[in-house]
């Protein structure tokens, strides 16, 4: 969900681009973290943990905690809280350690 009409801030968004999440076509703004674009669409579960298969999401937003690792364009373990969104990206939930495709 995007925040509209903020009393102090004006958001400088990049151009609108399309990407896919689990095969579904979504849109976001170029250059924003992939996690921000996913949150706009209500996607909170970003991966499932290695040992107990627990759902994990966004946590630190600075690329340190490893909670948000996803598969992006076939590459696993991408920190989507700091990875900028680009047109046509293929984003998938990561299960466990992920796989190289």
């Amino acid at each position: 969900m995007r925040i509209e009409n903020h009393p102090i801030l004006e958001f400088k968004h990049g151009k609108k681009v399309g990407f896919t999440f689990e095969g579904e076509e979504l849109s976001g703004y170029e250059g924003e973290p992939i996690a921000a674009a996913l949150h706009d669409h209500g996607v909170q579960v970003l991966r499932y943990s290695i040992r107990h298969n627990r759902p994990r999401g966004f946590f630190c937003a600075i690329g340190h905690c490893s909670s948000c690792l996803m598969e992006v364009d076939g590459i696993p373990n991408v920190r989507v809280c700091t990875e900028p969104l680009a047109a046509g990206m293929v984003v998938r939930r990561q299960r466990g350690k992920g796989e190289l495709r």
């Binding site: 995007r2 925040i3 958001f11 996690a35 949150h39 627990r54 946590f59 937003a61 600075i62 700091t82």
Partner: protein
């Protein structure tokens, strides 16, 4: 190839940028490494106006400060800022390695190294604390203030320190409800100016309360909170359910001090500062000659003191490189006096106590 700048600064937040302003201003070839998409560290989401004096931009909103810090030096050929670049190692020959945009390993052998890597958020233990929808308060700030995305519709804030209070207020500014602010202490830890804003918005601040568990299957659908007794244990019968779709943890920060450990700087655990920090002299130099510390990585404090520490580390570094700095001794003293003033009074008591535990006597004391 190994790059050999005169000064390498790891971290482009308030401390790192203030240090760069000084080293570049004094004519040092300076490289700044930062892992984020843009410089400024946590300033990029601080929509509130700063306190203090003019030296640390009192009255200016945090989001404007990176631009001001960089204004004087951003056109200088002496300054290079590498973004999305993570310092990854320090080797015994003084080489710092960094991963550049996930593509390339860079190597630097600077004459002087300033480490200003900041801090990361702590978490606390409760069932489901790993569930999507349990966020660091700083992360929520980034999501809503930098990227304009709401973390949810109704949040529960854990922690009534300054971050918990400020982020609660900012959530309301963004049109997002805050069910309550929960605080384990018997008092509000943050400044009254922030607490009174929360009170005016009629958001309850529940002291002597804690979170018992987050509710939900795949994401947060609520939380159970309870009162705690003198031993910080939940009082049976006081549990109640809070309706919320996200939980913000504002339970403190911990210094990202790994690089100092790699560089074998002498470290000390300082509870007041949230973890292990390097010993430092009054010029911010650590026990390893030529390695300086500035900002939250040396002890959790505030952006205002990080700016002053950065400036102090910056001019000390430039001076030690033999650069001509007019009025060096006066400026050095002014910056140190400013830190003393920022840390004065009852609010600064724990900072003063922390500083006393990590001070080494200066090797080249000024004045």
């Amino acid at each position: 190839m190994i790059a050999t700048p005169e000064v390498l600064i790891v971290g482009g937040g308030p401390a790192g940028l203030a240090a760069a302003r000084e080293t570049v201003g004094a004519g040092c070839d300076t490289v700044v490494l930062d892992d984020a998409l843009e410089p400024g560290g946590q300033l990029v989401k601080q929509t509130h106006k700063f306190f203090g004096s003019e030296m640390e931009y009192a009255g200016v909103r945090g989001i404007k400060i990176p631009e001001i810090l960089l204004r004087e030096v951003s056109d200088s050929p002496k300054l290079k800022i590498l973004l999305r670049t993570t310092a990854s190692g320090y080797y015994e020959d003084g080489v710092v390695t960094a991963i550049f945009q996930d593509k390339k390993v860079l190597k630097f052998k600077p004459k002087k190294l300033i480490i200003a890597t900041g801090a990361q958020e702590k978490t606390i233990l409760f069932p489901n604390n790993d569930m999507p929808g349990v966020y660091g308060a700083g992360a929520v700030q980034t999501l809503m203030n930098v990227y304009g995305v709401a973390p949810g519709t109704r949040g529960l804030m854990i922690g009534a320190g300054n971050i918990g209070l400020i982020v609660s207020y900012q959530l309301r500014q963004a049109g997002i409800a805050v069910a309550a602010v929960v605080e384990a202490l018997d008092r509000i830890g943050g400044y009254w100016v922030h607490a009174s804003k929360i009170a005016r918005l009629k958001i309850p601040i529940l002291t002597r309360h804690t979170i018992i568990e987050a509710l939900g299957e795949e994401n947060v659908t609520g939380a159970i909170i309870a009162q705690i007794d003198d031993n910080w244990l939940p009082i049976p019968g006081t549990e109640r359910e809070i309706e919320c779709d996200f939980i913000c943890l504002a339970v403190g920060l911990s210094p990202l001090s790994d690089l100092f450990r790699l560089a074998e700087c002498e470290m000390v655990f300082v509870p007041e500062f949230g973890g292990d920090v390097p010993l430092r002299d009054t010029n911010m130099e650590t026990s390893t000659k030529g390695i300086y510390v500035a900002g939250d990585v040396g002890g959790i404090e505030e952006a205002s003191s990080a700016i002053i520490e950065g400036a102090l580390a910056g001019i000390s570094t430039a001076f030690s490189l033999g650069k001509n700095i007019p009025d060096y001794e006066r400026r050095n003293r002014e910056l140190r006096d400013e830190l003393v003033s920022l840390r004065s009074g009852p609010v600064g008591e724990h900072i003063r106590s922390g500083i006393a535990k990590c001070r080494i006597s200066a090797k080249t004391e000024v004045g």
